[in-house]
Amino acid sequence: MPTTEKSRKKAPARPAQGGTSATPARPASLRKTSATHSPKASAQAPAKPPARSAGRAPANAPHQPPAPSGAKAPVKSKVQAAVKPADKAPAKAATRQTPAQPRGKKVSGKTPSQVPDKATVKTAAQATTKAVAKKAASAKGEAPKATTPFVAKTPAKPVRKKTPAKVTPAPQTRAQQTSQPSTPTAAPKVVEKVVEKIVEKVVEKVREPSPIPQYPLTYERPDHFHVVNHSRYKLDGMSLVTGAPKFTADIDLPGMLHIKVLGSPHAHARILDIDTSEALKVPGVVAVYTWKDVPRVAHTTAGQGYPEPSPYDTFLLDSKVRFVGDRVAIVAAETPEAAAEGCRKIRVNYHVLEPVFDPTQARRPGAPIIHDEPDCKAPLPIFYDPKHNHCAHVETKVGDVAMGFQEADVVRERTYYSHYAQHCPIEPHVCVSYLDENDRLVLRSSTQVPFHARRITAQTLGIPLRKIRVIKPRIGGGFGAKQEVLLEDVCALVTLRTRRPAKWELTRAEEFMAARTRHPMIITIKAGAKKDGTITALSMKIVSNTGAYGSHALTVVSNCGSKVLPLYKIKTIEFVGDTVYTNLPVAGAYRGYGATQAAFAVESMMDELAEAIGMDAVAFRQMNHIREGETSPIFKALGEGREGVSMVIKSCGLAECITRGMKEIGWAEKRGRGRHAPGPRKRGVGMCCLMQGSSIPEIDMGSVFIKMNEDGSFNMLLGATDLGTGSDTILAQIAAETLGCQHDDIIVYSSDTDFTPFDVGAYASSTTYLSGGAVINAARQVRAQILAVAASMLNEPVDDLTIENRVVYGKGRKNKLTFAQICTFAMYEYHQFQIAAVGSHVTHASPPPFSAHFAEVEVDTETGQVKVLKYVAGVDCGTAINPQLADGQTQGGLLNGISFALTEEYIFDDKGRMLNPNFKHYKIFSTADLPEIVTFLVPTYEPTGPYGAKSVSEICINGPMPAIANAIYDAIGVRLTQPPFTPEKVLAAIKEARTAKK
């Protein structure tokens, strides 16, 4: 399976087009069936009346209105016969997928003739799609026969798989019975006409593919934005500022146990024996589990799509510990104090092993092997060599680098070091587990990846996925830390074993030591340029330290290239990334995801090159940065655990980010001047350019379900995960824009694996771009249904209708209907159905947002203290769906980046113990440290993004390290390579530079 990963993932995109027009998802209006919402019911329903309408596959859309689709062969042929006996193959194909218009059938007693016509019209289109489908299928490596599902005469099994539901015959009788009495006020004839119209329009407009949706490749730019691109208030804002109990830990459950996990005091040791007898005697301790008591399933905690590009090297509990803080034993007790006391009473006999902390030592022969267990493995056929602590490897080449360096007039080489740092969400990881009234396991967790959490927990405990429900309530920040399945398995274990609710909440110290960190890296970069400014070659070699487990080991290091190198036109490139295991805290996903580390090296190098050829640092970048209509071979070369997706830049506002930023910081007046000012305090300005991505193309999927209520509001159930970013609000704005209402007409419920459709979760800068696309797909269908109903109610063609703020207007605004009226009609009046739809989306590109950052600093040359005086960031995130929230993302990310650059760091002793696992000594900035911050958005329109949007959340954290380092260089002529730029390090660098000069 892994080998076919690519094709497997890619495959749906193609046939989608074939399938799209083939199988209409039709509103249930057409039938009145009591079983439409239950897949089982529809599947089991006896085919009493001749099946005309198909209960649409609810398997992938439990709430979606059933729509006719692939019916059983006999049914189909019957339909066909009834419809158009003489039809040829194409028509057959059509009927297979658009079997009898159930609507037509129901009403058909009255107007049978229209329906067949429609079917034939559709088939014409399908004839061509068939070819496409065939092509796609053969590309997939399947026998052409497999494509026969698209032909009616072989209603093969695969068809049914994709359009799962068996047909539920429409209880016509009921429809007919109800048709008259349901509109007692209207004259029967009028009613009939209205109904006819509904039939027509609904069938026409709501026709949608069913099994495989089609993902639009581009979104047309509207003349005017009504809801998006406006700073609407955050939907959950009021509840948050009034302190509503909506976070994970804000619920009290009767009999809830408190979990504490004993952490290893050693960086590397084998557990020879564990004695839990004393712990079990502690009053209040209910259970203690060690590695002997739990299933041993190799897995990864990385919350990534399946199969994960991270190695399976983690176990619920193991007989070996690999870093200080690694899990040793689980204690569940009546109180947190008893759990802590229980941990203290566990006696562990360790055989302490030699640890390895230095990533450059880790791969040397004779180094201690951290993962010597036989059962660790990579789930994908990718490089994995744990016996040499070599966790991941990636490399790519563009052109001949050696030639490139030869061609260069100047060549510079330097090694940059990026350090251990933590996300520091103010809410630490927390999970509450319980069994619900149906004995299913509920995990209420502060997670960014509820669906992955469900899958990985099921895998780790060896329990069926269907037994688990994961709910993400409001969560107190994540930044990547919560894209990790860290607590759920333990909570699940305790609850399943004790049958009691349980809570595990990390302390701040545990959060630092045992949660996840940013991958520290050693980046050696060499680059060459010609005097005219052409960059002829760039070589980047990275050693990434993943700590004791390989969470995101490959993908973070890949991103060092893929999210940084395409920014400039570089003639030849060599990129090598190696991730190694050490006995230090585990790295994972952290906002920026490799781009943060690499941007520091690359953007420092850009300044070095510019200086070497005597060009202004800005002018050099302006000359070389990528522009609209251009591409980079890196897009294709580096993906996530496999080849990437090539793309052409369709929107780029970087040029304006740069010019406006220059003005804001006063580049022309300040650059190069501060160094010569009198006194010990020198000022300087520096800048950098940045890009990131928007989603992981052709890998990640998001989906959304929207249904309409009779007051004109909508429930929107999102798989997407709002971790505090405001994505619920932004996605509601996108829905409102599409539907023609206000964002607070959308009632958002997100991230509940039982109730919301699938979404990969909040990572890879994907929510707006990816899930936003799914919202549009769902909302368009719903809008079409609204218009179809309105058209029949108004007796006007759909094309004449317009929607404006919850009102549908007829031609010339003579007639109008409110959303409430329309939905009420659809629900209660006649040929009722639920206006609703599911939309999914997969992206085919990952368009980069662009940004230019500028910093002005003051360096105290007598103490080494660096003060950021002013920081400017301009961002092109395409259309900002909510400019205020986008701006907030930028400000929050860049301040995080500034304190990462200046103060945040892990300090270890020689045993691998973190000395500062608290906010007292791990310093993140407060308001008292805040420099003047200027942020601005440069609007562009990204045609592949929803309403032109790209991502915004990650890019902003990448700038401060290089911008500040470049500013420091401007101020004092010293190039810093080892952040954080603490006073001590800066002073040491100044002294070193002085000695070197002498």
Binding site: V241, T242, G477, L723, D887, N918, I924, S926
Partner: protein, 153 residues
């Protein structure tokens, strides 16, 4: 031991352990807005007003609050009648994940109670104990200044 105090205007008598911290006691008493972020007085997510003073409830023994008047965000305003600061936080986008909001709103209220016309520097100083990882503080400061200007009108 018994503890008598007023929480958000309501007189309460609570049974507490002598070593209980105010943070835990308030959460157990239903004030879930009081958040635990660090348990060491560094993040300010647990800040409440104790007799008008904004303090980290994680570093206060509940027993120290005999007879005290406690205000948490639940007592500052409701969705129907929000405090101007709460409205300003929403209006200015000062709330992202919102976990730190209760503590920072309390600190901001303490500031405006003492100084109805704060400068930017005053706000930075008054909120210096309330860490926020989401917003970068800029919008929070704008919100407090805006609420102050509304208060004057």
């Amino acid at each position: 031991m018994k503890l008598h105090l007023t929480i958000n205007g309501k007189a309460r008598t609570l049974e507490i352990a002598p070593n209980a911290l105010l943070l835990d006691v308030l959460r157990a008493a239903g004030c879930k807005s009081v958040k635990k972020g660090c348990g060491e007085g560094s993040c300010g997510a647990c800040a409440v007003l104790i007799n008008g003073r904004p303090r980290n409830s994680c570093l206060v023994f509940a027993a120290q609050c005999e007879g005290a008047d406690i205000l948490t965000v639940e007592g500052m305003g409701t969705p129907e009648h929000p405090h101007p600061l709460q409205e300003a936080f929403i209006k200015h986008g000062a709330t992202q994940c919102g976990y730190c909001n209760p503590g920072s709103l309390i600190a901001a209220k303490a500031l405006l109670d003492r100084n109805p016309s704060p400068t930017v520097e005053d706000v930075k100083e008054a909120l210096d104990g309330n860490l926020c990882r989401c917003t970068g503080y800029v919008k929070r400061i704008e919100a407090v200044l805006d609420a102050a200007s509304l208060g004057k009108k």
